[in-house]
């Protein structure tokens, strides 16, 4: 392999966690505790999760002597609505980079185990750094239409979600100058595979792998990328229901 991803060590960690917990979790059904799985919820019931993502930036954007970087923390909330709708909100943050996502999904049970969902989210990006010789900000709006397919194994839920990324507006400010920063309006696509299962008592753990095929990847804004091409950018995610 040309590149050895740092997430490999996380992958091994995650498999280990799964293995340790499998004997416990086989006694516990995954129903009514998932975040990603397209499962209808009781109206106005909530589910929350907190997680972390490890990302790998493309080297010709990131270089080695790049700007300050921080871990990507993910907070998600899902609320049931009538008629198989779900309302979801997310906060993805690296402190200097923050993305606030609000969206809705419609879910449908194809059969007892196989579920599907259609969703649409809008996201607001805001980033700011006023240290380390930066006086820079970024703000913008994104859209993410998506579709999901999930299978409930009883003790484990597997969800495949794919979607597109659109940049509705994006502006960057340095000093007193603000410019349009969108490389393109059609930003690319992503897919995510998530496995969710009971972790401990009522807590659910989800491990996800997301692959972004995009021109602009929002955590990289401080590198001010100008390349008009698509990059494969992987994210390895872990989340716990709270």
């Amino acid at each position: 392999m040309r590149q050895i991803y740092r997430p490999l060590k996380f992958l091994i960690f995650f498999i280990f966690i799964f293995s340790l917990n499998n004997e416990i979790v086989f006694a516990q059904n995954i129903d009514k505790s998932t975040i990603e799985f397209p499962d209808a919820m009781q109206p106005y019931n909530w589910r929350l999760s907190l997680g972390y993502a490890s990302i790998k930036m493309p080297t010709d954007v990131y270089l080695e002597a790049a700007s300050a970087r921080f871990p990507l923390i993910k907070f998600a909330a899902v609320m049931g609505l009538p008629s198989n709708f779900l309302l979801e909100g997310k906060i993805n943050t690296e402190l200097v980079t923050n993305q606030f996502v609000l969206g809705a999904r419609w879910v449908y049970n194809i059969d007892e185990n196989l579920h599907m969902g259609l969703g649409y989210s809008i996201a607001f990006l805001y980033g700011q750094l006023k240290q380390f010789n930066y006086d820079s900000k970024i703000s913008g709006w994104f859209s993410y239409p998506s579709a999901a397919l999930g299978y409930d194994f009883g003790n484990l839920a597997l969800t495949f979600r794919g979607g597109f990324s659109f940049i509705n507006s994006l502006q960057s400010t340095s000093g007193s100058t603000t410019v349009d920063f969108a490389i393109a309006r059609g930003n690319g696509l992503y897919y995510r595979i998530t496995i969710e299962q009971r972790f401990y008592k009522t807590t659910t753990v989800g491990i996800g792998f997301q692959m972004n095929y995009v021109k602009f990847y929002y955590p990289e804004w401080l590198m001010f990328p100008t390349f008009d091409r698509y990059y494969w950018i992987p994210e390895l995610q872990i989340m716990f229901s709270i």
Partner: protein, 426 residues
């Protein structure tokens, strides 16, 4: 869950993760960049200085504006007299063409066009169909028109292009010293240009890409030799597969020179070699020698090489003046620099604060562009007889703002051709 189902479950979940992991390893971000070449070039004679001057200027794009924008700027490279640069401004585009007087009847050039932001490229050729007398002999109508073709990739294209002369580049822009500094001789990444950054090879050709100045990165090898390399480690971004790994400073220069090949096959040069090439084989006017952290191990060595070639460059008959500076980029380097005897005589750039600039008596202040145009600080520095450069500006909107509303003496960029388009288009 019975045993069989359990085994299926285990197998499925681990297999799914493994397949995903293997699949994603095949998703490469490598970019195959083509550098197309013509298989045949008709014999041409380089134009003389007056002929080149009459031909340079701003042209309207009468055909091909979807590809190249509404105006383009034509400029001959000074040292390599038969190279013509066309700055198109659209999609970070440009052309590098070669040619000249074809049989005393026309001017013909051929080469390639490229979008630097994604490396889309193709062959292109231009022939003067109007204004030939004016360009070649200085007589007749000055309405110059080029017509030509462009294509995609290596194939000869049938897409038509027409450039019509609009006006000359303003003389004050040609006379003014505004430095378009190529960021380590890179076009955004080493694969985007035909030669690798920080090499003698790129210094020979970077002027064709709009630069009149260059920034290069110096480190110190294990045996104290100043050499040129940007990244902290020997990595696939810059070098071909080889036996050396880790930090380049861990090796002697002989080991680096022997065992390392850069992306396009070049060897890592010494500072002395690259400055010799710049002085003797280019007309670059400004050299920014960026001292990386290991430079602290031989600051005096770097200083003596910089001063040597600065002196040679400014005393070489026929060569226009050159300014070569060593750049102090961190507090550690700053403190070490102040310990050097007669440090005030060393030509330097300071990337730190304006008070640090004064304390080390630097010739140039070079702040990061992300702090804004800082016009009042820049004016204050310039009032002291110093210069100010900002780094590294790649976004078109900021480039225009800093050029038109800032008062810097120059700008580091990965796209000197775009900066040339904005600068000469004023």
């Amino acid at each position: 869950m019975n045993k069989v189902k359990k085994r299926i479950f285990y197998f499925f979940s681990f297999a799914a993760l493994l397949v995903l992991f293997l699949f994603t390893n095949s998703c490469s971000n490598d970019l195959d960049v083509l550098f197309p070449e013509w298989s045949y070039s008709p014999p041409t004679t380089p134009l003389n200085a007056d002929q080149r001057s009459r031909m340079e200027g701003i042209y309207t794009v009468e055909n091909g504006s979807d590809q190249f924008g509404s105006t383009v700027i034509l400029q001959w490279t000074t040292k390599q007299k038969n190279y013509l640069s066309v700055y198109t401004g659209k999609n970070f585009g440009y052309m590098v063409l070669q040619g000249g007087n074809l049989g005393d009847t026309t001017v013909y050039v051929q080469g390639f066009w490229r979008y630097q932001s994604n490396a889309k490229t193709g062959l292109t050729q231009l022939q003067m169909i109007q204004g030939t007398d004016y360009v070649l002999n200085g007589t007749g109508n000055s309405e110059i028109t080029f017509t030509g073709t462009w294509g995609n990739g290596q194939g000869n294209g049938a897409n038509r292009v027409v450039f019509k002369y609009q006006r000359p580049i303003k003389q004050e822009l040609l006379d003014n010293k505004y430095y378009r500094i190529s960021h380590h001789g890179s076009g955004g990444g080493p694969e985007y240009l035909p030669q690798t950054e920080n090499t003698q090879e790129i210094c020979r050709i970077i002027e064709r890409y709009g630069a009149n100045a260059i920034e290069i990165d110096v480190r110190i090898s294990a045996d104290g030799v100043p050499y040129m390399y940007h990244d902290n480690t020997l990595n696939p971004r810059l070098i071909q597969k080889g036996s050396l790994v880790g930090e380049s400073e861990n090796y002697t220069y002989k080991e680096l020179n022997t065992f390392v090949r850069l992306i396009h096959g070049e060897r890592i040069p010494k500072l002395d070699d690259i400055l010799k090439t710049i002085v003797e084989e280019s007309t670059l006017e400004f050299v920014y020698v960026d001292c990386k952290p290991s430079a602290i191990n031989n600051l005096s060595g770097i200083a003596s090489i910089v001063m040597k070639w600065d002196s040679i460059g400014n005393n070489t008959p026929g060569r226009d003046s050159i300014q070569i500076y060593m750049a102090i980029t961190s507090d550690d380097l700053f403190n070490a620099f102040l310990q050097l005897p007669n440090y005030q005589d060393i030509p330097t750039i300071c990337e730190l604060t304006t008070s640090d600039v004064e304390q080390m008596d630097a010739n140039v202040w070079s702040p990061r562009w992300t702090e804004g145009t800082q016009n009042s600080d820049v004016a204050s520095i310039q009032a002291q007889g110093r210069q100010a450069i900002c780094w590294t500006v790649d976004i078109p909107g900021f480039m225009q703002e800093y050029l038109y509303n800032g008062i810097f003496n120059g700008m580091l960029t990965d796209y000197p051709h775009l900066l040339a388009y904005y600068y000469y288009g004023q």
